[in-house]
C-alpha cells in the first residue's frame, strides 16, 4: 500500500539537482558521477585524480552549504552496529563487483540507456526489496 503520509513531493526537486550535478560533471570534465567508483579510486590512491578527492569533499561539505539555506531534514539511522558493518561490507564489495551503485548505474547509466545499467538497477532493486521484505515483514527487524 502506498504510504501517502511519508510521501515527500520535494524529493523530485532534489532529484533534479542530483541530475544537474551529474550532468555538470559529465559536460564539465567528461566523467561519470559514479560515487562507488570515485570512492574506490580515492581508496586505492594509486591513480587517483584531484577532482575525485574534491568531489567527495564536496559531498562531505554539502550539509554545511545546505544549512545556510534551510535546516537539515530528519535523519533516522536505526540499524545496529553489526548490521551497519554487514551492510557496508556488502555495499563495498557489491559495488566493486557490479561496477556501480545507484548513482553510477541508476542515474548515469540509465541516462545513457546502458543495458548493463538497466540489468544492474533491476537486480539491486529486486534484492533490496526482497531484503527489506524479509527483514521488516518476516522478521520484524531493522
Amino acid at each position: 500500500m502506498v504510504d501517502w503520509q511519508s510521501f515527500t513531493p520535494i524529493s523530485l526537486i532534489g532529484g533534479l539537482v542530483i541530475g544537474a550535478a551529474a550532468s555538470m560533471l559529465l559536460l564539465g570534465i567528461g566523467r561519470i558521477a559514479g560515487v562507488s567508483g570515485i570512492t574506490a579510486s580515492v581508496v586505492r590512491i594509486k591513480n587517483v585524480e584531484a577532482w575525485q578527492v574534491l568531489f567527495l569533499l564536496g559531498l562531505i561539505v554539502s550539509p554545511l552549504i545546505y544549512q545556510l539555506i534551510a535546516p537539515l531534514p530528519t535523519i533516522e539511522v536505526t540499524s545496529s552496529v553489526p548490521l551497519l558493518i554487514i551492510a557496508g561490507l556488502l555495499v563495498g564489495i557489491g559495488t566493486q563487483l557490479g561496477s556501480g551503485c545507484t548513482s553510477g548505474h541508476g542515474i548515469c547509466g540509465l541516462a545513457r540507456f546502458s543495458k548493463r545499467s538497466l540489468v544492474a538497477v533491476l537486480t539491486f532493486m529486486a534484492t533490496g526489496i526482497i531484503t527489506v521484505t524479509l527483514f521488516q515483514q518476516v522478521f520484524g527487524l531493522i
Partner: protein
C-alpha cells in the same frame, strides 16, 4: 612568456577548472541528496518496502535525476569534448556478465539492510552521523577486500 611557460599555464588553468568543477559537482550532488531526503535511510527503506508501507519518494528522486541527466547525456553525445577540451570518458563495457549481476545483487542486499548507499553515506559523514562512519569504514574495507582478494581471482 616562453612556449613552455604558456603550455604549463594552460595546463594549470585546465586543472584548476577541472578541480573546481569536481568540487562544485560534489557540493551540488550532496545538496540534491539532502533536499531529496535520500540521506535519510528511512526514506530508502520505505521505498524498498513495496509490500508494506510503501514510500514512493525515491521514485521521484530517480525520475527527476534522470529527466536532467538524459538531457546532459544527449548534449554530451553531440559534443565529444567537454568544457575543458578533453574527451568524455564513458564506460565501454556492454556485456551483461555474472560479476555485474552478482555484484548488483550483493549491493542490493547491503542497501536493503541499512538503507544507505555510497553517496548518502559520505554526506552523512559530513553531517556527523557516527553510524555513517561505521558504514563507510566497512564499505572501504569491502572495497579493499574486493581489490586485493576477489579481483585478482577474476582475471
Amino acid at each position: 612568456m616562453s612556449k613552455n611557460g604558456l603550455l604549463k599555464n594552460n595546463i594549470s588553468k585546465r586543472n584548476f577548472l577541472k578541480n573546481s568543477i569536481g568540487l562544485i559537482s560534489g557540493l551540488l550532488f550532496g545538496v540534491g541528496l539532502i533536499l531529496s531526503q535520500m540521506v535519510n535511510p528511512q526514506k530508502v527503506l520505505g521505498f524498498l518496502n513495496v509490500f508494506g508501507a510503501w514510500d514512493i519518494s525515491l521514485a521521484l528522486v530517480m525520475g527527476g535525476a534522470l529527466m536532467v541527466s538524459v538531457v546532459g547525456v544527449y548534449i554530451a553525445k553531440h559534443n565529444p569534448k567537454n568544457l575543458i577540451g578533453e574527451p568524455i570518458v564513458l564506460p565501454n563495457k556492454t556485456i551483461i556478465d555474472k560479476p555485474l549481476i552478482f555484484g548488483a545483487a550483493l549491493f542490493g542486499i547491503g542497501w536493503g539492510i541499512a538503507g544507505i548507499c555510497p553517496a548518502p553515506a559520505i554526506v552523512l559523514l559530513g553531517i556527523g552521523q557516527w553510524q555513517a562512519l561505521v558504514f563507510v569504514v566497512a564499505m572501504v574495507i569491502g572495497i579493499i577486500a574486493y581489490q586485493q582478494l576477489i579481483k585478482p581471482k577474476l582475471s
